[in-house]
């Protein structure tokens, strides 16, 4: 038994079935996500990854099964960056602070800014030097770090990222994954990361979910087992060896 598997799960899915309009697009899955685990959600484009993750987050209704979340769970979600409108002005510091909001009271909706949390999040995401720059003026790699800082500012214990490196070059992509793995260890986070670039998870991810809508496949387990399974290799092919690891900084 690994250290993480001895902890109680933060997310416990039993027979989780995802889809649209009551129709399943993938077979049901059982998964348990614990503190310190790094989950890779793998699959080709259009395979059902985003539907799965949005159902897990409660953004889409599930078709079947159960999702139980631990009372102490604090989740943060980083959508694909294409969903952020570049015409809306925002300095990095304002953008990060806006991630502090958690919960809501209609009678007392005012927030007390925790400047310490914002500073910590910026430092942890290695972007404290960008605090007063406009988000729209940043490179894609810098934006990835700012988005990550915003997700960290509310001190989550589960961090979910949808294609966090979809528009960056290969070197920055590796650096972002290095940073994510470092944050997982430093902050004792459970990470769930969606990417169609499976080689980026090698040596970092502890667990994997593989989905293939066309082939009617959904399977989950330890990363090495899933990526060595016949069902994965038949459909996806073997994972290429990771390239030379990139340093944590600089990212451009």
């Amino acid at each position: 038994m690994t250290e993480s598997s001895s902890r109680s799960p933060l997310i416990d899915c039993r027979g989780l079935t995802v889809g649209y309009g009551g129709r399943a697009i993938l077979p049901s899955l059982d998964i348990e996500v614990r503190t310190g685990e790094f989950w890779a959600l793998l699959g080709n484009n259009g395979s059902g990854k985003t539907t799965f993750i949005r159902t897990l987050l409660g953004l889409l209704p599930r078709v079947g099964g159960e999702i139980q979340r631990a009372p102490e769970i604090v989740m943060s979600y980083v959508p694909q960056r294409t969903e952020l409108d570049p015409t809306i002005p925002s300095r990095v510091i304002d953008f990060v602070r806006s991630g502090q909001d958690r919960g809501w009271s209609f009678l007392d909706p005012f927030r007390t800014n925790d400047h310490g949390a914002s500073r910590r999040a910026l430092q942890d995401a290695r972007c404290d030097d960008l605090a007063h720059q406009q988000l729209s003026h940043l490179s894609e790699g810098q934006k990835a770090r700012a988005v990550l800082a915003r997700a960290l500012v509310s001190n989550p214990n589960v961090l979910v990222l949808d294609e966090p490196t979809s528009s960056v070059d290969a070197a920055t992509e590796r650096a972002v994954f290095e940073l994510l793995d470092a944050l997982r260890r430093e902050r004792d986070l459970a990470l769930i990361v969606v990417s169609h670039r499976s080689e980026l998870f090698v040596g970092r991810a502890t667990h994997a979910i593989y989905v293939d809508r066309a082939g009617g496949v959904a399977t989950a387990g330890e990363f090495d087992e899933i990526t060595a399974s016949a069902v994965f290799i038949t459909r996806h092919g073997p994972i290429a060896s990771p390239a030379v690891p990139a340093p944590l900084s600089p990212m451009h």
């Binding site: 949005r54 987050l57 409660g58 953004l59 989740m75 943060s76 979600y77 980083v78 959508p79 969903e83 952020l84 409108d85 015409t87 809306i88 002005p89 925002s90 300095r91 304002d94 806006s98 991630g99 909001d101 958690r102 919960g103 809501w104 209609f106 909706p109 005012f110 927030r111 406009q134 997700a151 509310s154 979910v160």
Partner: protein, 291 residues
């Protein structure tokens, strides 16, 4: 004042000399411009710039239906009030729009087009059954930025106060759901409720203000000040304040320019907004070159 000074015609002097006469429409324009200016930030952030055009047509349908109900069904008092009819139809359409939270831009555009056509075609169709009231419908539907009665100004001020209070009180939520609704939902914000409140406040403002000032200035105020503000602001909070200021300037200066240059008031207010957008774009480019 000396005789020499009397001979010199001060720019806009006649306007301020007759301030009592022009006060109500000028203040109504500035107030509506202020409110729709900051609301416009949400309209642009949510990519719904034709919202006010569509909802003002729906307000027209509500007015026409109220007259129809008065004439053919004997509705009297509040039940037959055109203002209430406009509000009910506009709020209903706004609620329909909130049900489509994840709509892609093309689908949202088509929904706004549907609302516009339902409103405009419906108004024309119902009007044929209430021909004797056409003049009243035109007046209520298109308003007049020139002639604003004291009771209209009071109504504008009350509506503006209510909408501004709500938006200061719940600004944090409205901003979150407009820039990143999915993350907001994961962090426990009641996105659907806040979206409904935001769209209903927009619908209420558009419905009431269209009946007093007319469709053109209302559409202009809900788009142009926000466009200008987003070009020169460094964050969304600043953009909301700047857009409110730009909107108030459009409303007041537009009225002033209409007086001075003998222009239609609504068009003049829209043109001032366009000038502000161009000035803001020039300022943005100048600042970018300097940095």
């Amino acid at each position: 004042m000396t005789a020499a000074a009397d001979d010199v015609m001060l720019p806009f002097g006649g306007f301020f000399e007759s301030w009592e006469l022009f006060r109500d429409p000028a203040l109504a324009g500035a107030t509506v411009g202020f409110v729709l200016g900051f609301l416009g930030i949400y309209v642009i952030a949510r990519r719904m710039v034709f919202l006010s055009a569509a909802l003002s047509q729906c307000a027209g349908l509500g007015v026409a239906l109220s007259f129809y109900a008065q004439i053919h069904w004997g509705f009297v008092g509040l039940a037959g009030s055109p203002r209430l009819g406009a509000l009910v139809v506009t709020l209903t359409m706004a609620l329909v729009l909130t049900t489509d939270r994840k709509a892609v831009a093309t689908r949202r555009d088509s929904l706004l087009g549907f609302a516009f056509l339902l409103g405009s075609a419906g108004t024309l169709a119902v009007s044929t059954r209430i021909v004797q009231e056409t003049q009243d419908i035109q007046s209520l539907l298109f308003g007049s930025a020139v002639a604003v009665l004291p009771e209209d100004l009071r109504f504008v001020l009350l509506t503006a106060l209510a909408v501004t209070f709500l938006h200061i009180w719940w600004m944090r939520g409205f901003v979150q759901i407009s820039i990143d609704p999915d993350s907001a939902m994961v962090r426990g914000l009641p996105v659907r409720l806040l979206e409904a409140a935001l769209l209903l406040s927009l619908a209420l403002a558009i419905s009431f203000f269209t009946q007093i000032l007319g469709a053109l200035p209302v559409f202009a105020f809900s788009v142009l000040p926000a466009m200008a503000a987003l070009r020169v602001s460094r964050n969304l909070s600043m953009a909301l304040v700047v857009a409110g200021g730009c909107g108030a300037a459009c409303g007041f200066l537009g009225y002033l320019a209409a007086f001075q240059y003998e222009l239609p008031v609504g068009a003049s207010q829209a043109l001032v907004g366009i000038i502000l957008v161009l000035a803001a774009e020039a300022l943005r480019r100048w600042a970018l070159q300097g940095s």
